[in-house]
Symmetry: D2
Subunit: 185 residues, 4 copies
Amino acid sequence: MNTHKLFCTALTLIALYSPLAFSQTLNTNITEAEVKAAQDAWGKALIQISSDYDKSGLEKATATAKTVLDSAYGYNLGPVLFKPTLSGGEQTFRTDYQGALSYFVGGNKQYTQDKGFALKSWTDYSYKNAAVHINGDTAITMGKVTLTDKSGKVTTVDKTWGFKKTDDGKIRIVLHHSSLPYSEK
Amino acid sequence: MNTHKLFCTALTLIALYSPLAFSQTLNTNITEAEVKAAQDAWGKALIQISSDYDKSGLEKATATAKTVLDSAYGYNLGPVLFKPTLSGGEQTFRTDYQGALSYFVGGNKQYTQDKGFALKSWTDYSYKNAAVHINGDTAITMGKVTLTDKSGKVTTVDKTWGFKKTDDGKIRIVLHHSSLPYSEK
Amino acid sequence: MNTHKLFCTALTLIALYSPLAFSQTLNTNITEAEVKAAQDAWGKALIQISSDYDKSGLEKATATAKTVLDSAYGYNLGPVLFKPTLSGGEQTFRTDYQGALSYFVGGNKQYTQDKGFALKSWTDYSYKNAAVHINGDTAITMGKVTLTDKSGKVTTVDKTWGFKKTDDGKIRIVLHHSSLPYSEK
Amino acid sequence: MNTHKLFCTALTLIALYSPLAFSQTLNTNITEAEVKAAQDAWGKALIQISSDYDKSGLEKATATAKTVLDSAYGYNLGPVLFKPTLSGGEQTFRTDYQGALSYFVGGNKQYTQDKGFALKSWTDYSYKNAAVHINGDTAITMGKVTLTDKSGKVTTVDKTWGFKKTDDGKIRIVLHHSSLPYSEK
């Protein structure tokens, strides 16, 4: 028996006869790295929708927005606590999927004020957290988010996010409160 | 032996010899009722500070504000994610106790823009949650909060709160994002 | 327009134009009632496997055991902390599905000591919790479990269970430590 | 102004004027390292009580046991799910402090079977986890624990622990199920 075979046989024996040999850990907690990755992904997704709109039109942008909502938001879990930046009156909160989609790409007759926030030719994104709380499989962040469009115009908003790590290990936005900065008139 | 004595002896025997007789439950989760009570308490506290200010002056109002921050906010746990309604620029976020106190009652030279939000003669408060999430010992809420001052002027804000139930069973605000409603110019 | 139509139209209008009208709550916490239901279900399942074995044989019992493991245990989430009553030596812990199945119905050449715990003609089951902890979407219980077989023989074990409520709202056993009572020799 | 002063002044300015400069994270989750440290500490404490008993007698050992229970177990939080190895009958579970203390050092007239498990001259301790679950501020472990006394006699037990990280950042045992290994007669 050569060395390779011997090694493989040993591994097989360990696997078969030593269930105690290795400890296994199941950790369902969200990590700070996962929170930052989700924050990065949000900006990247927004820029992608903008880019798709500018290059390929509304249909493509809407498809991308749906993909983003399907994968990055928690509408599959229940109502999402979503207060978008440019949303007011009776339609301030977008706790359901259709309200969120309308905010990002417009085109929904129930939300006549929506112009499609993600269609504004965003090209750059950054954020600075003031503080982050991590609690079990959830995290909340608060800070400044800065968006730049293709003309170079900069928009800064105050943003709170809540993230939840689901059983499949994915991170979803379950809370999103965005507001224009306060300034004295 | 009369009936009463018999009963008491039986109870004593159960207590002494039957540690299995009663199940004991330790439940650290926050309940929806606790969340609502905390939301009620926030408005009541704000009105109390206003009332103390109008009746007894700044010193009394400041003392009340400190009591509120000490008992209802989570600054003892770490940085609080607090974005008050009328707070902007470099001083937007009040993650520490002093910043929060300054926002409510002013008088802090580091926060020159603060005029004391709790000193505005608030007399009435109500809220309407758009959605609530309860996750372990934490909860997040989003909705409209309406404040009325003694002149009858109504101020409505979009408000997100995060609450945490601590080991002693108390509920503390660990997240508070408040913003003026968006309206098209 | 008759009353019925008026009422339906009003409801439709509320649904269309008043997204603020109703608060929605998403609560992911496990409740004590869910814990008790899961404890009840465990005993019922064990008796079902026994009954299937006695009436229809090993194949049917094995199919039932698989259904139980698939729905009531958390092997889909990761390793389960399972120390069955009559399991010792190198094969004490059954952190994987095959080890658990073998314990309940036997027939696995890797677990030669297993005789099929669920095949012992169990007909009655009861439990008494000494204490229960509820923490977020998980709960742990400790207490006495009593099993009776068709001959009337009673077996009592000390049992700790850990339950987890998954995103789909189901309760799964993620911890199960069962041991024969200690008695001085 | 020398370099040192310049540096300090710069730091002061940053601290005074840039509340946004640093992100702060509050993470209440338990880590695997904390779980392992708690498991190490348990064995070390047991050996310490034994050593104190052998060197200084029961009073000293009892004082040490109280210190251990006060700091390492969660009796301050509520009932602890504790099933010690050598505990049976009506007194199987030690959900309260007195029951736990009695198990470790004896001397309690209500627990006549207790001989003081920690007084058995333990000198060595090791453990091997079969699996570990980490969920928020709690963790559960299951595995083999091996204890050796000064005569060289080895005792192995199957042990499940549940740990909870409290608001002060400490780790406490809230679940402890220990049982002698099963062996066919």
